[in-house]
């Protein structure tokens, strides 16, 4: 019982809420106006155009000026109609935005369409918009009128009771009571009717005024591809920045430190043994730190990669690998900087992986460009059995390292990654990257 009462109360409150929400009503009334304008404008254009064509076909009467006028109208008709369709479409979308706060994006492929009516008339978007306008000037107008009628039910009922329609003769009790009940019911239903009309209108608009599903997906794919490319580029930029910072900062300080210690070591002369030992050890440590840092930074983004390209940059990592590496690069035309950076990372990371896990005696790196593809093959004569997760799991590193990291970097630029590594070896990693942007 209480629940029933509560339900009734909630219903009543939501009715009041609905009453307060006048936006669907406003939307429907605006739709009534715009629909009427649409009908007049499009109807007028179509009629004028048909009339001009009919006059031409039928043989123009009167002076040559009239014939020219018909030709101009016949030629301009489709263009004006197109502008009408697109202009009204924009107006309708604005109506949704202003009245309901519903954002309906314009259909794609509009650029230049204004100037190319033929292509625009070939586009489904134009015909869908036209379809919406046809709905708007018929169903839309009717629905707007219905909403208006619901709200103005009491006024209509009073007018009826006052005998406005029937030449001053007031209706009898029966019809009078019926009119009052009908007016009350219409008023009560008005918010729902308005909302239902708005919802149906919105559905129609989304289907006809906005981009189609395919267009939406195309736009989405484009924006995803763009943001992904931006992330890749940002990663590159970050690596370059870190490399430059280390080069200009820490590395210089370390060189200076090692140099000072070297000079100290050289001028020790007959210094006591403990002092000598400390200085010598410090000097060795500084030298080693320098070498380690150089190795680390070399893996980031060497300046020579931008300057002289992939071919030149790969010598450094191949020569620094802790096992003998043979390098063969055949890239006549350079790829885009971001692809070069990915390729460099792939080789660097693959060689690190070989050194860490493969237990190999030799490694071979081949980089060649075939058409628009850059093909990178890193093979070793190690124990094999490498899987995507081997590098990560065994080394305990975070994401982005090991073979999975390689696969991710390749995938981020629409590249492919394959690893062939039977137990017992040998292991071959093949990465193919698109050379373009």
């Amino acid at each position: 019982m209480a629940a029933g009462l509560g339900g009734v109360y909630r219903e009543a409150m939501s009715w009041v809420e609905n009453l307060r929400d006048w936006r669907p009503t406003l939307h429907a009334l605006a739709g009534l106006g715009v629909g009427a304008v649409t009908g007049a404008l499009l109807g007028g254009l179509v009629l004028g155009w048909l009339a001009a064509i009919w006059s031409l076909v039928d043989g123009p009467t009167g002076g040559w000026e009239l014939a020219v006028f018909y030709v101009v109208v016949a030629a301009a008709g489709p263009v004006l109609l197109l502008w009408g369709v697109q202009g009204l479409g924009a107006l309708q979308r604005a109506r949704f935005g202003a009245a309901l706060g519903v954002e309906i994006p314009p259909p794609g492929g509009r650029d230049g369409a204004w100037l190319r009516p033929v292509r625009a008339w070939g586009a489904p978007a134009t015909w869908r918009q036209l379809g919406y306008h046809l709905l708007a000037m018929t169903v839309g107008v009717a629905a707007g009128a219905l909403v208006a009628a619901c709200w103005s039910g009491p006024v209509l009922a009073v007018a009826y009771l006052a005998g406005v329609w029937d030449g001053g003769r007031r209706p009898g009790i029966g019809p009078g009571l019926g009119a009052v009940v009908a007016a009350a019911a219409a008023l009560a239903a008005a918010p729902w009717v308005a909302r239902a009309v708005a919802r149906a209108d919105e559905a129609a608009a989304r289907a006809l005024l906005g981009p189609s599903r395919g267009e939406e997906l195309a736009v989405r794919v484009e924006s995803l591809a763009r943001s992904r490319a931006e992330i890749v580029a940002a990663t590159d930029a970050e690596r370059r920045r870190i490399e430059r910072d280390l080069h200009d900062g820490t590395q210089r300080r370390l060189v200076s430190l090692a140099m000072q210690l070297g000079m100290a070591r050289n001028s020790l002369g007959d210094a006591p043994e403990p002092v000598r030992q400390v200085i010598e050890q410090a000097h060795d440590e500084a030298t080693e730190a320098l070498a380690e840092l150089r190795q680390l930074v070399r893996g980031l983004h060497p300046a020579v990669l931008d300057d002289r390209g992939l071919d030149a940059a790969l010598s450094g990592i191949a020569a620094n690998a802790p096992l003998p590496v043979r390098l063969r690069v055949d890239v006549a035309t350079r790829c885009s900087p971001s692809i070069e950076a990915v390729a460099y990372f792939v080789v660097s990371e693959a060689l690190t992986n070989v050194a860490k896990h493969a237990d190999a005696g030799h490694a071979e790196v081949t980089v060649e460009r075939a058409g628009d593809r850059l093909r990178i093959v890193v093979s070793d004569d190690g124990r094999g059995g490498a899987t995507l997760d081997a590098g990560t799991a065994a080394a305990g590193d975070g994401a982005g390292t090991g073979l999975r990291g390689l696969a991710q970097r390749a995938a981020a630029v629409d590249g492919t990654f394959a690893v062939h590594s039977p137990p017992g070896g040998p292991t071959t990693i093949t990465v193919e990257l698109p050379c373009g942007s």
Binding site: R252, R253, V255, G262, D307, R308, A318, R326
Partner: protein, 213 residues
């Protein structure tokens, strides 16, 4: 011997100046970019210029390009290029312009003061000093391989030769007898089909030509 230093880091410029001065060189100018370097070399005509690779304005290969200009305009001035990274491509550029009185070393090497001063003197005297790392990079590039015919020891000797070491230098580095080194060297030349030469300098040239071919 008179030296011009080009290094854009004030810290390292001061350090190098001290190191070279202590080592018996006279530092006649220490500058921070390639333009100033060329002016200083033109003005002072030093025996040797010590040049950093990455300098303003672009911080890429200014030093290499300046070294090439020095090689053309002042062939009597030796050039030792220093860098935090060595690149075989830059080495190839350097050696294409001049094959004597030229050196290319990692900056790390200045920490081994005595070795570094030796290398600088060698370059100033018309010799060659290539960083072992550059030689390793050149070796990575070899394909169809006569190098495979070399024993590991002979390969070591080849690398030391390519760095610009004399027989004496190789003897010291490997701690073997001079006669053993001579034998390795003649083996290498035979296996690589190189004409045997007696002077250190022409020997380096032969090896480098082989590695770069």
């Amino acid at each position: 011997m008179r030296v011009v230093i080009a290094e854009d880091s004030v810290l390292l410029q001061a350090g190098l100046t001290k190191l070279l001065t202590d080592g018996g060189f006279e530092v006649v100018a220490a500058v921070g970019d390639a333009d100033q370097l060329l002016r200083a070399v033109g003005e002072h005509r030093p025996d040797v210029a010590v040049v950093d690779v990455r300098m303003p304005p672009t911080h890429t290969d200014e030093g290499i390009r300046a070294a090439l200009v020095i090689g053309r305009q002042y062939p009597e001035v030796a050039v030792l290029v220093l860098s935090q990274y060595v690149e075989e491509r830059y080495a190839t550029d350097l050696l294409s312009e001049r094959t004597s009185a030229v050196g290319y070393l990692l900056k790390d090497r200045v920490a081994q003061v005595a070795d570094f001063l030796d290398a600088l003197r060698r370059v100033a005297a018309g010799g060659t000093a290539l960083d072992p790392e550059v030689v390793a990079q050149l070796l990575v590039r070899r394909r169809a391989d006569p190098l495979d015919r070399l024993t590991p020891r002979e390969l070591q000797v080849l690398q030391l030769m390519a760095e610009g070491r004399s027989n004496n230098g190789i003897t010291e580095a490997l701690r073997v007898s001079p006669s053993a080194v001579e034998k390795y060297v003649s083996n290498i030349f035979a296996k690589l089909d190189l004409a045997p030469t007696d002077t250190d300098h022409r020997r380096v040239l032969a090896v480098l030509t082989f590695l770069r071919s």
